[in-house]
């Protein structure tokens, strides 16, 4: 069995499962946010049960439109807050909160071997911890909140092997963008993506979260990594309950095995309007920009901010660019303060915001006007994703985003370093 098959088998009390089988799996964590929780709560009420199956396993995080961007968003956040209080759920208020997929691992709420379902497509982020995590809709989450179980089809697993070591300025973001560029936005549809090889073994946990996060951008049901020493170092000080480490069998059956030479992969930029529309930075050409966003569940962690600061230190944001930097959680924000990164950002002319998903989905804190172009470390560049349907979003890693902010056009960090 593959890693995913082992986790799923353990969650439906079976010795083995195989791809294509329908199972009903127990869930360790059920998640919703201020956009998806209201619908889930409405459906939960209609089921006719009074209490969630286990309040310690249901997590609600206001992060998309908070601090409330308008009255309607305030009503949704209020509805979620009141439900969380009534049911005694795990809940993070503004001030303590962060972007859901940054704080759940940070607080030790998701652990290796877990099955997690979340009413947010980027729930797949937790695969970096060796957990099976997948996004679903509000009705599925309502049903799982009531029963603690969810039906699903066991997905086939595609194994990705990244040979060699990545070059400077190349991160997990570039490996995953390169992969999506290769297989397409439905290249892993209905499948689990298992990320392996020397190059990913050398990646930090933050970079692994970035890769697992974007599995859904290739249509994947989950993105997953094997647990190694680096995972355990991350998890151990955070875990307050036991967890299980699963290993794929040597004779595990994969639907495909795709191999890349990571040493040949440059920083990638995904052009409008699909994450698969990628080019290496050396082939981007002259593209002037109006805005840069560094943050999100994809790239809002401390490593991301550290790299951005390395590029921005002693430089000034180009006069025609707004650069918006958003730490992914309170802990990331505090650590960035301690390391002096926030000072670097503000001195360079960037804006620093409290944690929020905000601009990534065109919510607030940096919505684009018609004709504007943005380089963003987020995960989607669909038509209208960050604002006007006539705006453009280019996806990149934090180093490229920071360099682009300095030079006013999409740029390699090398160009800033040599300036």
């Amino acid at each position: 069995m593959t890693l995913v098959e082992k986790i799923l088998a353990a969650h439906c009390s079976r010795k083995a499962v195989c791809p294509g089988e329908l199972i009903s799996a127990g869930v360790d964590v059920v998640l919703a946010n201020d956009i998806t929780a209201p619908l889930a709560i409405k459906e939960f009420r209609r089921i006719g049960v009074d209490r969630v199956f286990d309040p310690q396993k249901v997590v609600m995080v206001p992060d998309h439109f908070v601090p409330n961007k308008d009255i309607a968003s305030a009503e949704q956040a209020k509805m979620m807050r009141e439900f969380a209080r009534e049911q005694g759920l795990v809940y993070f208020e503004v001030g303590e909160m962060g972007i859901e997929h940054v704080i759940l691992p940070e607080k030790g709420l998701v652990l290796p071997g877990d099955v997690v379902i979340g009413a947010d497509s980027h729930t797949c982020t937790y695969g970096a911890l060796g957990a099976f995590a997948t996004g679903m809709g509000s009705t599925d989450v309502a049903s799982a909140m009531a029963t603690g179980e969810i039906w699903m089809r066991v997905p086939p697993t595609i194994k990705f092997v990244y040979h060699g070591q990545v070059s400077k300025w190349v991160s997990g973001k570039d490996l995953i963008l390169y992969t999506i560029g290769d297989i397409g936005v439905d290249g892993a549809i209905y499948s689990a993506m298992e990320f392996t090889g020397e190059a990913v073994e050398g990646l930090s946990m933050d970079s692994r979260f970035t890769m697992a996060n974007m599995a859904v951008e290739a249509g994947g049901k989950a993105g997953i990594f094997r647990v190694d020493d680096r995972t355990i170092d991350y998890v151990k000080p955070r875990a307050s309950r036991p967890y299980s480490v699963y290993e794929p069998d040597e004779d595990a059956s994969y639907s495909r095995i795709i191999e890349y030479d990571a040493s040949q992969i440059e920083p990638q930029v995904a052009f409008p309007h699909l994450p698969s529309n990628t080019k290496p930075i050396s082939q981007v050409g002259d593209i002037e920009i109006d805005q840069v966003v560094i943050g999100s569940c994809t790239n809002g962690r401390i490593e991301d901010l550290t790299i951005a600061a390395e590029v921005l230190r002693g430089k000034h944001i180009n006069r025609r660019v707004r650069c918006i930097i958003i730490p992914g959680s309170r802990d990331v924000y505090l650590e960035a303060l301690r390391r002096g990164l926030i000072e670097t950002f503000i001195e360079s002319g960037a804006v620093v915001s409290t944690p929020t998903c905000g601009p990534c989905l065109g919510g607030h804190m940096g919505v684009l006007a018609a004709g504007e172009r943005c380089v963003s470390t987020t995960n989607r560049n669909f038509v209208g994703r960050m604002g006007s349907p006539e705006s453009e979003v280019y996806l990149a890693n934090p180093a490229v985003a920071a360099a682009s902010a300095v030079l006013g056009k999409i740029s390699s960090p090398e160009e800033v370093a040599h300036k």
Binding site: I35, T36, P38, L39, K42, E43, R46, I47, G48, H64, F65, K69, D70, A72, S73, Q76, G118, A119, D120, S121, T123, G135, M136, G137, S138, T139, D140, A142, S143, V185, D186, I189, Y190, V216, G219, K221, L274, L361, G362, G363, V367, R380, F382, V383, G384, R385, P389
Partner: protein, 168 residues
């Protein structure tokens, strides 16, 4: 369960951000969402769509976010069903969970144009293009799924089942 209507045709990778842009996710009532359905790729859709009309699209329909608001908006706009070459997996679950029928059929997508009239019988998977006199076949829904769709979605279906088992 029979559906008849005019075709609104789209390409590949129709994502949830264009089905219902996030700027409208500060509300969740289906009728409110429907007013903005498909706004960013087809601003006139909501004026043209009639009850029972059918969306026909290429591969990976509904890719992107997990927002259930997307199938809710389509259903409340009056769309009777969506036919595509393939669906993104979260959208697939969400559509059935809220009682919006969706069918996969490569041939029907290739041989159908915007404005054609289609008749779809969910229990058999038959798709008839009455404008062109063509017949296609999709995988029929099993009985429980037809019942789920007729109930209006998973929650209502579950409620009815529970109520029936309490009566027994």
């Amino acid at each position: 369960m029979k559906i008849q209507g005019k075709v609104h045709k789209y390409g590949a990778d129709v994502n949830t951000d264009v089905i219902i842009p996030a700027r409208y996710l500060n509300m969740y009532e289906p009728d409110e969402l429907a007013r903005h359905c498909m706004e960013d790729i087809d601003s006139d859709f909501i004026n043209r769509v009639k009850p029972g009309d059918i969306i026909v699209a290429d591969t990976n329909f509904g890719c992107g976010s997990s927002r259930e608001h997307a199938p809710l908006a389509i259903k409340a706009a009056g769309v009777g069903c969506v036919i595509a070459k393939s669906f993104a997996r979260i959208f697939y679950r969400n559509a059935l969970n809220i009682g919006l029928p969706i069918l996969e059929c490569m041939e029907a997508v290739d041989k159908t144009d915007a404005g054609d009239l289609l008749e779809v019988e969910l229990s058999t998977g038959d798709i008839i293009n009455t404008t062109r006199g063509l017949n296609f076949k999709a995988e029929p829904f099993p009985d429980f799924m037809l019942e789920l769709i007729e109930s209006g979605g998973l929650i209502e279906y579950t409620r009815r089942k529970l109520a029936a088992s309490h009566r027994d």
